[in-house]
């Protein structure tokens, strides 16, 4: 079975000559269905570049970005755009909801852009909003929602239509720690229902919600966590 996301020896270089910047160097990363991976690293370590390449918003200088078994480089720009709408969901730091649209219209938008007619699009949107417990806010405009509700709507938009890859860039934005935790619970629940998730963050507490944490430094994957043992081991752990 193919993985929802596979990066093979991905490098990305900006500029050339003396101003050349190596944002990513030979990065390998595979994310499976049901897995939430956090990518941590300092500013300028290449985290956001990794996410934009995984999301097909940028192409690698060398190496392959493979989504659902399809090498993004081998498909036409219009097919790539279609994949982006059908297979990949994004959650942004500042939510990026369209202010003139109601919550439910924000969630149906990616489906309608993809040619889904309004009735099934609305049904799928409602289902996603119910999963995120914001269905009762569907007729509100973004500025009538709290920060936490806005991010729930944004996550509903990212998972609507059963997309297999969820990409999130500092998804808790300016939310306080309890609301931020709420967002991580939702992302974790979404991935554990079968989506593959990648969260980019510099916050250790948010990263600790992931099944696996990958550490980037100067564009290189320098380390990653091993699968953590079950919670019961905590009681016996002598190293705390």
């Amino acid at each position: 079975m193919t993985s929802p996301l596979e990066l093979r020896h991905v490098s990305k270089t900006y500029g050339s000559g003396p101003t050349e910047v190596h944002a990513l160097r030979e990065v390998d990363l595979t994310v499976e269905r049901g897995e939430l991976v956090a990518v941590m690293g300092p500013s300028g370590s290449g985290k956001s570049t990794l996410l934009t390449i995984a999301g097909s918003l940028e192409t690698p200088t060398s190496g392959q970005a493979i989504v659902d078994g399809i090498d993004l480089e081998t498909v036409s720009p219009s097919d790539r755009a279609k994949m982006r709408r059908r297979s990949i969901g994004y959650v942004f730091q500042d939510f990026n909801l369209l202010p003139g649209l109601k919550a439910i219209e924000n969630v149906t938008l990616p489906l309608e852009l993809d040619g889904v007619s309004s009735k099934p699009a609305r049904a799928a949107a409602l289902e996603a909003m119910e999963e995120l417990d914001v269905a009762d806010r569907m007729d509100r405009f973004p500025d009538e929602l709290s920060g936490g509700e806005r991010q729930r709507v944004a996550i509903a938009r990212a998972i609507v239509g059963r997309r297999g890859l969820l990409l999130a860039d500092e998804p808790t934005g300016a939310l306080d720690s309890v609301n931020g935790e709420g967002v991580m619970r939702l992302l974790r629940a979404a991935t554990h229902r079968g989506v593959a998730g990648v969260v980019v963050t510099h916050e250790a507490q948010l990263a600790s919600w992931a099944d696996r944490v990958v550490f980037l430094r100067d564009g290189l994957v320098v380390d990653q966590t091993t699968a953590p043992p079950g919670p019961e081991s905590l009681l016996a752990a002598g190293d705390l």
Binding site: H202, A204, Q205, S208, W209, R217, T225, P231, L234, D239
Partner: protein
């Protein structure tokens, strides 16, 4: 240790048997801090000796019911408001390790920092899993786990800051490191 005060607090809403106190202690700390029944009884004995609790004086220890005394209530109220020791240990083991690593030729300090960062985050993952498994409504457990998570996050932030600082600046000289690691000093001064 705060076990005596935790027991006094549990007795504040009425008299209880030792076994019940043990169960309540564990459920209210989210079972993160296990407490054996022997510890409960020795603590109760000490509290009784000090006049902070009293019991109906009959039968086996498991048959005794304990209640808090006015002196116990006073002690508990004072303890709740007494600030805990906030001054950190003068020599943090992790800080020492990093300072020592700086002095060893050929050692990549960033790699040392990363080993510790990964370890701390793996411990954080375990606490977060406990929190995730318990659900959002288990407030006691969330508070206990949060306290550990914020403490551990502080360590990661220090590691991140050390990484960034060492990338930008010259490492301290061996003499400076010797000064910092030699004796526990309350007024540590870092030369510019």
């Amino acid at each position: 240790m705060s076990v005596p005060y935790a027991l006094l607090a549990l007795l504040s809403d009425g008299p209880k048997y030792g076994l019940r106190l043990q169960n309540e202690f564990e459920s209210r700390t989210g079972e993160v801090w296990p407490l054996n029944v022997g510890q409960v009884y020795t603590t109760l004995q000490r509290l009784e000796r000090d006049g902070l609790v009293e019991s109906d004086d009959e039968g086996e220890r498991s048959q005794k019911r304990y209640r808090i005394t006015p002196a116990g209530q006073g002690d508990l109220a004072a303890w709740l408001r007494t600030p805990p020791e906030l001054v950190p240990p003068p020599r943090d083991e992790l800080v020492i390790k990093v300072l020592v690593a700086l002095q060893i030729p050929g050692i990549d300090v960033h790699e040392i920092l990363q080993v510790h960062r990964r370890h701390v985050i793996e411990v954080m993952q375990r606490y977060t899993r406990i929190k995730a498994a318990a659900g959002a409504d288990d407030v006691a457990l969330a508070l206990v786990a949060d306290a550990e998570l914020f403490r551990l996050e502080g360590i990661v932030r220090w590691l991140d800051a050390a990484d960034a600082r060492l990338k930008q600046q010259q490492p301290p000289t061996p003499a400076e490191v010797a000064d910092l690691t030699a004796e526990p000093s309350a007024e540590m001064e870092v030369s510019p």
